[in-house]
Each structure stands twice: as C-alpha cells, then as structure tokens.
C-alpha cells in the first residue's frame, strides 16, 4: 500500500492527483479507467477541501492498493466533521441546466465513476473508500 498525507486545500489537489494517477498507472489500468479514477478522486477531494474543516485547517490522507489484482482500492481519510457520503441525495437531473442547483453534482459524478463507494467513521476519521474493478 502506498500513501500520502497533505493539508486539505486546493493548492494540494495537483500533488494528490499525481499520487493517485501514479498508483493507477502502476496497476496497468486502461486510460479510460484511469480517467474515471481521476474524476472520482477530484470530486471526493474537492468535497473534503470545501466542507471537512469549516473552522480550522486539517489534513487529508490517500491510501491506494490493489486487492487480489482485480480491484483498485482508494481510501481517502480526513479528520474533519463527520460526513456520510451516502446521506447526500442525488441532484435533480431533469431540470434544465440553466436552472439546476449547483450542489451535489460532484458527489453524483464520483459515485457514477466507480464500482463501489463505502463510508465509515472510525474514531476521528472519515474514511471514504472508492473501489474500481480492473475489468469492467
């Protein structure tokens, strides 16, 4: 398993993304799957940057590993306010885009890009797990 831990702020997005992309590339994912991993990760991270630490700064940690060579597992940890991703309702996709509410779009995309999304609160940590299967 490899990991990286940085301040949860937009200035670190690029470094965090490079870490995840390097992980995915090492595992031999196709370009198409790597893009899906990239999009899901960006949306998850930006959500943490925006909401996890309303009053003080904090960190985010990424851990990536392969599970029996078929599943890419990315764990995203923060110690911010408890945030269960499953509690977010889906955006209204029938409304004309000129009138759509902005919120919820990123989380929706994140969910659609990966095969499984898990959330657990472990003591001080929010642990979001994104699982991507190697073969679709």
């Amino acid at each position: 398993m490899s990991k990286i831990r940085l301040q949860a702020k937009i200035e670190n997005l690029e470094r965090l993304m490079q870490f995840v992309l390097a992980c995915a590339k090492r595992q031999g994912f196709t370009q198409k799957r790597i893009q899906a991993i990239e999009l899901a990760t960006e949306e998850a991270l930006v959500n943490i940057f925006t909401y996890a630490y309303p009053e003080h700064t904090g960190e985010v940690e990424l851990r990536c590993k392969m599970d029996d060579e078929t599943r890419f597992i990315l764990e995203i940890l923060d110690t911010g306010i408890p945030f269960n991703i499953h509690s977010i309702s889906e955006p209204d996709l029938t409304e004309n885009i000129s009138n759509r509410k902005i919120g919820g779009l990123g989380i929706f995309l994140m969910r659609k890009m990966v095969d499984e999304v898990q959330y657990r609160r472990d003591e001080e940590n929010n642990i979001l797990t994104l699982i991507i299967h190697k073969v679709v």
Binding site: L13, E14, L39, I97, L105, L109
Partner: protein, 125 residues
C-alpha cells in the same frame, strides 16, 4: 494538469472558445476569466469547441452551465462542438446534453449558423 484557452471571433458577435487540456477545480477560473468579457449583449453566439479538451470535472461543468445561462440572459445562443468520448460521457451522466445544442463537427455547426443567419436577415427584411 494544465488548461489553455483560445478565444476566436468567427464573425460579428460569434465567438469560439477552445479549452485545451484539463478543465478541473484548479483550472476553471482561468476559463471563467476568458468568458466574462464575452457575456455582453454584443455576443450573439458562443461556441465551445471541445476537440482539445481531455478532461472535465464538476468544476468545469459549472462553467459550462454558467455560460449557457449567461447567453440565455442576453438572448444569445450557446453551443458545443467536437466532444471527445470521455467528455460526452460526463455530460451524458448528468443528463445535460438535451439542454445544449451540440455539433459533431465545426462543418455541421457552420451549416446551422448559416441557416440561422439567413433566417435572421429574412426577419429583418
């Protein structure tokens, strides 16, 4: 990940914006800055040529939504052309394409614009 934005005037009040690279949470402001001056009454048509766009996230989608809305407010038209498969997929997932005029190529778009322009002239006569 970088973004480059090229803006061209293709005719009176017709602007083509070509974002190249990654349109994400780090780069969307740069596109917004290029677009803001175009949200003026003199703009009739705003076209996003996405032939060189490799990646879009929700931050980028918001800029597209905003552009569409801004053009609607000034009675202009917003269009997109040349979406790569991965970009089209993202728009499809959020069901945005029914609300946007999308062309497969610039030729197809030019044909449409010619017709639109002729109708405009006929209306004035």
């Amino acid at each position: 990940m970088q973004l480059k934005v090229d803006v061209k005037e293709r005719g009176k009040g017709v602007y083509m914006v070509m974002p190249e690279g990654h349109l994400d949470s780090n780069t969307y402001l740069m596109l917004e800055e290029k677009l803001n001056p175009l949200f003026a009454a003199s703009t009739k048509v705003l076209i996003f040529d996405l032939s060189r766009l490799d990646y879009i996230s929700s931050a980028g989608l918001r800029v597209v939504f905003k552009a569409k809305k801004a053009l609607k407010e000034i009675n202009g038209s917003f269009m997109m052309a040349n979406l790569k498969p991965q970009i089209k997929k993202v728009f499809d997932i959020i069901n945005a394409l029914p609300d946007i005029r999308v062309f497969k190529s610039l030729e197809e778009m030019d044909t449409y614009l010619d017709v639109m322009q002729r109708q405009e002239i006929e209306k004035q006569q």
